[in-house]
């Protein structure tokens, strides 16, 4: 009784629905509210702040890189945007993060809804081992109980895999488990999974740090196309990568060990890399610390 991985059709009743492949974006914004705005934001673990006093605006359809030495709270900040931070016991936040002007931490805001609008790609590729490649891509719909017709599901899977530059490599083995792919392919599968969930913003926490140079290149190329449709925030340890792929760069650093990380400098990537306004930024970029 070798069992195939569960497929969407087996689980969800069929219902026709037009495939929604384009990213969900609110109708033209009446004001110039950025898709993402942080105001004096801090996040703590068990009372100890990991990152504090962050204020910045992230413009739409662009790639913003978070750089800075290890432990200055970049991951914590990123995980606060989609409210994943609070799933850790005793983790708390203060200040505001606004998604198109709406406070993510406002009263009555459901973190589940926030996470549906803000997708995330993690440092370590984490495809669901009990699902096929196809079901991994469609996991967002499945996990939210969204109903997709067979054709809509197929189209969504294909377009997301194409957007993640993975379609040609896996189109003949969509029913096979996602865990059988190479590390780079798995990470692109996770990107496809995030895209298929149709977020407005995609957060990436060092998505290339565990990958070989060729897979890294594939993902960097992908960034250039993602920027057209999504607002991307990426944490990276690789200065060249930040310089190559990002429009804005935010540099974080902690003044001393066990001190919370702070936003030191935030500007266009070209400015940050050619004329950094702070000595710390210049030193970090030049590889003098971190």
């Amino acid at each position: 009784m070798t069992q195939q991985p569960l497929t969407l059709e087996q689980l969800e009743p069929l219902e026709l629905q037009a495939p929604v492949v384009a990213p969900r974006r609110p109708s033209p914004a009446p004001t110039a509210t950025p898709p993402l705005r942080m105001t004096d934001f801090s996040a703590s673990y068990a009372g100890r702040p990991a990152v504090a006093g962050v204020t910045l605006d992230i413009p739409a359809q662009s790639v913003t890189a978070f750089i800075g030495p290890s432990g200055c709270g970049k991951s914590t900040l990123l995980r606060s945007i989609n409210r994943l931070h609070e799933t850790i016991p005793q983790a708390t936040t203060a200040g505001r993060i606004e998604l198109h002007g709406e406070d993510v931490y406002g009263p009555g805001v459901d973190p589940v809804v926030v996470r549906q609008r803000v997708g995330m790609v993690f440092q370590r590729a984490n495809p669901f081992p009990a699902m096929s490649i196809r079901d991994n891509v469609l996991a967002g719909a499945k996990l939210r109980r969204q109903r997709l017709s067979k054709t809509a599901a197929a189209e969504l899977a294909e377009s997301a895999l194409r957007a993640a530059n993975l379609w040609d490599e896996v189109k003949d083995r969509l029913r096979q488990p996602g865990a059988g792919l190479s590390g780079g392919q798995q990470q692109r599968l996770c990107i496809a999974r995030a895209i298929a969930a149709q977020p407005e913003i995609i957060l990436m926490d060092e998505p290339c740090s565990a990958l070989d140079p060729i897979s890294t290149l594939a993902i960097e190329e992908l960034m250039a196309t993602l920027r057209r449709d999504y607002t991307v925030v990426i944490v990276t340890h690789n200065m060249q990568q930040a310089a190559r792929i990002s429009d804005q760069t935010a540099f974080f650093s902690a003044s001393a060990l066990r001190q919370p990380g702070r936003l030191i400098e935030y500007d266009d990537t070209t400015t940050v890399f050619s004329h950094p306004g702070e000595q710390a930024t210049a030193d970090y970029i030049a590889g003098r610390f971190g």
Binding site: T87, R115, Q116, A130, A139, L143
Partner: protein, 304 residues
């Protein structure tokens, strides 16, 4: 140039090593031998047990044994169909109670529990793991006596007693299996905008599937051989009883006990039945373990 320095290293080294390695080899041999003896000591009783059960049990391993009860049988002949059916029914009933309760508790403890309550539950489960089976039997006896009148015996009462023994095993083993599911996967699912219960249903449980089945099988293996509580609350009978709600219901362990304990005039016939029942019970337990292995292999998340 001294004589020592003149000797090429390649010649000198093996000599020096020879003495050292001889000692090492001996240490090695002694260690391996004592480990082997320990293994033998552990396996010897088991081997002897299997041999005895096989040699004495095969005599009555005939069709009659599997097609007849003991109703009206005095002396030789008769079978254990009623006890086999009883064991199967009570095992299934026990699983019906213990598996949902055990697995749901495990899911609660791993996925939802925060604060003092889950810690209290864990403590109670640990205590229940060490519960003497006779106490479980007495508890079921008391409960059913209170509800149905004193001395009420039934297969269901037996199942209730056994489920008290099986549930903590399922909780403990299930908890362990759920904790093996990487946090990464839960975060990935949460990050896609899934409510916690969907994360559990669609990601955690399928990923832990094979491990959870092993947990259930471990629990079953714990209870299929139980005798004392069944003796107390399910009782013994010579006749078929397909109704777990009423009257005494025979089971294999109690069958073995009663055949051995209440030998009639033809003692050898009773002994032979007891041994065959023991053989059938051992095969039953073995089958459960093999099924667990098989299910684990077939249901494990595949990588290729």
């Amino acid at each position: 140039m001294t004589a020592l320095a003149a000797a090429p290293l390649a010649i000198r080294a093996p000599l020096a090593r020879e003495r050292l390695s001889r000692r090492r080899r001996w240490t090695e041999k002694v260690a391996a031998a004592s480990l082997g003896v320990a293994c033998l000591a552990a396996l010897l009783p088991l081997g002897s047990l299997i041999w005895t059960v096989l040699s004495r049990g095969l005599a009555r391993l005939d069709t009659t044994f599997f097609t007849q009860s003991l109703r009206g049988v005095v002396g030789a002949g008769g079978g254990a169909l009623h006890a086999i059916v009883g064991t199967a029914l009570i095992t299934v009933l026990t699983a019906l109670i213990a598996v949902p309760v055990g697995l749901l508790t495990a899911v609660y403890l791993v996925e939802y529990g925060r604060g003092w309550f889950p810690r209290a539950v864990t403590f109670l489960v640990d205590v229940m793991t060490g519960l003497p089976s006779i106490v479980a039997g007495l508890f079921a006896y008391a409960v059913f006596s209170l509800i149905l009148g004193p001395g009420a015996r039934s297969g269901l009462a037996g199942a209730v007693a056994l489920s008290l023994l099986m549930t903590p095993v399922v909780v403990k083993a299930g908890e362990e299996m759920l904790r093996l599911v990487p946090t990464d996967l839960r975060e990935a699912a949460l990050g896609l905008g899934a409510p916690t219960y969907r994360v559990v249903l669609k990601v955690v449980l399928p990923t832990a599937r094979s491990g959870l089945i092993s947990a259930v099988m471990l629990g079953l293996a714990r209870i299929v051989g139980e005798t004392a509580p069944l003796l107390l609350v399910a009782g013994f009978t010579d006749s078929m009883n397909y109704d777990p709600l009423h009257n005494r219901m025979a089971t294999l362990p109690v069958y073995i006990y009663s055949q051995w304990q209440n030998k009639g005039t033809d003692a050898a016939a009773y002994d032979a039945r007891a041994w065959t029942a023991a053989l059938v019970l051992i095969v039953f337990v073995l089958a459960i373990h093999l099924l667990a292995r098989l299910a684990g292999r077939l249901l494990a998340p595949k990588t290729r």
